[in-house]
Symmetry: none
Subunit: 209 residues, 4 copies
DNA sequence: GATGAATGAGTGTTCATTCAT
DNA sequence: AATGAATGAACACTCATTCAT
């Protein structure tokens, strides 16, 4: 009865998505989920071991798809010519497109991961992504600063740009459910951020007060 | 024993801050809070009527201080000369300073309000602030667009800027506990945002695809 | 400040009547009562010692007024000529009038006593009255039975008549708030009951199955 | 272990009957009930969903048995020849027998329903039955009044007879636990009530003062 | 004469989890 | 593969009552 097994597994996942969207991880009720699926809580424990396992079954794949895109981007980008950073629109566009594709592949799951993970092990995932981006930018910015004398990296601005960049995509996801329109909308945002990054990431190299 | 009365009330508030910071509104336990304060749950109900009342006792004053600053800012700003918007640094600095002062007056309370209000009536307060700012920017941007022909407001960018601006302060609060340093750090952020706003808030007035 | 004392005492009693009427003794809240009176629970304890004391302050006087009427009636009636029991309308009318006057002197209090005493020491007061009446009728019926041969008292009917008679007045109180109209309405009820009593209180004196 | 399942369910119901009899619905403690049954409160929620569900499990079936008898009686009786109403003893006896059978099928449950339902959705069930009977008698009495000139229905007496009739059975249940003896005891009561109804339900058709 | 503070025991209810079957 | 039964700990909240002041 392989079909039946998967059917019930999928039914549980579908109902769980609904419930997690409505109540968030912590307040979601396994009884409600399994009841909606025509099953009992025991079924959840059979398929997913526990509540977090069920959450992971929804959220793990979308998450790793995104992590993949980010890491690939970091690897490629490392070799860029920084003097023309801002003008390599093609690269940035390709990155944005890949990220958006990854994000919109399972829309609900990503909304759940980013906004309804409170209480689960995935809580704070956005911050962890920001930290990854921050680490990458730190090294990029160091190379950038080396091109100028009398300039140094503004650590706070660096982190803030990572924050804003990640959240630009999160914000997009929330406000534009259609992935093609999302791609259009993110363009000026990306342009604005790149321009800002280039201009504001460095500060005069005077001793801090 | 007036002292004693206030002592216990304040003790409850102090322990509640701790608990709300750790667990958030929804998962915070009144028994833990009152136990930590050396009292019983009944004491909470005597002083604050219920869980939300206790939360409000922590969070209401900081919140209204901030609302005050925002509304004052909106009122003043309405008369600005838009042609020199970007260069009126004094105004923006004053606004930032007032806002930061308001925000840092009760640091923990604001962190709780912004990040640990889930389940309370204050949930989504950041979004409500963004909507306020968005409404204000909408009208400002309309006046701005009227100065140019062939340009119109990009609604998405407008909302995104509101989002980023509010979150710039939230981000600051999270990452810089010292209010004076916070004021230094927010400056380039504000500059960057104003420059971006002026440049990216309008788009070419072609019919949308 | 004697005036003030009594004022507050009366205010408490008035608010307590309201609350007992709405919720009954058990579910009534002293906090609600004293709050409505502009006082605190402590005031209740000062004036009435405890919740039952407050209830008693409302209910004791009306109760003893009624007890008085009943006992007087029992005493007088003991000497009646049973052969003309049914036709002494004047006596029955006078009794009904006295009882109704006593009952309607503090309408709300009596409603509370009879219908909202659950949980208090007064719970089952109606049954206690019925038992009093039953005891009286028992002796009356014995004398009545002695007038006939081959007849004996039907104990069950005897008790049932006591029950119905008491409840006739309770029913009246519930359904007719005006004491004059009540007196009119009770007349045919009394006639019917007396007629029934005379006819059904005795049964043939055969050994019971 | 089907036995075990039902065993615990039945044990809960048995202990609940005890507790409801002693304390009434409102003051009964689920913890006491489940404790007495050797279980935890959760078991109550598994079997009965909530406190009212447990109460309903005890009381619903007896109640509907009685409602059935009443409604059947109303339907049949509607065609009676009113001129001989009083003398159709067979009909009244059959009705009384059916009602008593229904009432005594689950003695404790009915006592609980009639006397210990305060706070539950069944509170006031006796009054609702009286109103049903009253509605039925209203139409019966109208047909009866049409047989006489110069007579009209006394609304108060009509309602009072409904009240007394229903309470005759309630009283019986309270005072006679044996159903066969109950049937004997109710007979003179029924006779008395029918005789009274016929004689006192109409009054002279003079304008009311 | 009355308050304000606080208690302690209690309430119904919810939940993730376990486990024999 | 999944159920049905049951747990145990937790929860917010209510209440009559006490008592120093």
């Amino acid at each position: 009865m392989e079909q039946n097994q998967n059917e019930n597994r999928e039914k549980l996942i579908a109902c769980a998505k609904q419930e997690f969207l409505e109540k968030g991880f912590a307040k979601a009720s396994l009884r409600k989920i399994s009841g909606d699926a025509g099953l009992t809580t025991g079924a959840v424990y059979f398929f997913f071991h526990d509540k977090e396992g069920l959450f992971g079954a929804i959220v793990d794949e979308p998450l790793s798809r995104i992590m993949q895109v980010l890491q690939t981007h970091f690897a490629e980008d490392a070799e860029e010519d920084l003097r023309s950073y801002q003008h390599q629109n093609g690269d940035h566009d390709a990155f944005a497109e890949q990220l958006i594709t990854a994000m919109y592949a399972d829309y609900d799951a990503l909304i759940i991961l980013l906004h309804h993970a409170g209480g689960s092990r995935y809580e704070g995932i956005t911050e962890r992504m920001i930290d990854m981006l921050d680490a990458y930018y730190k090294q990029l910015a160091a190379r950038y600063a080396a091109l100028f004398t009398g300039k140094r990296v503004n650590r706070y601005m660096l982190h803030w740009f990572s924050h804003v960049q990640i959240n630009a995509f999160v914000h997009l996801l929330e406000h534009e459910p259609d992935s093609e329109k999302a791609l259009e909308k993110i363009k000026p945002v990306m342009d604005c951020l790149i321009e800002g990054w280039v201009k504001y990431i460095l500060e005069d190299d005077r001793p801090a007060g």
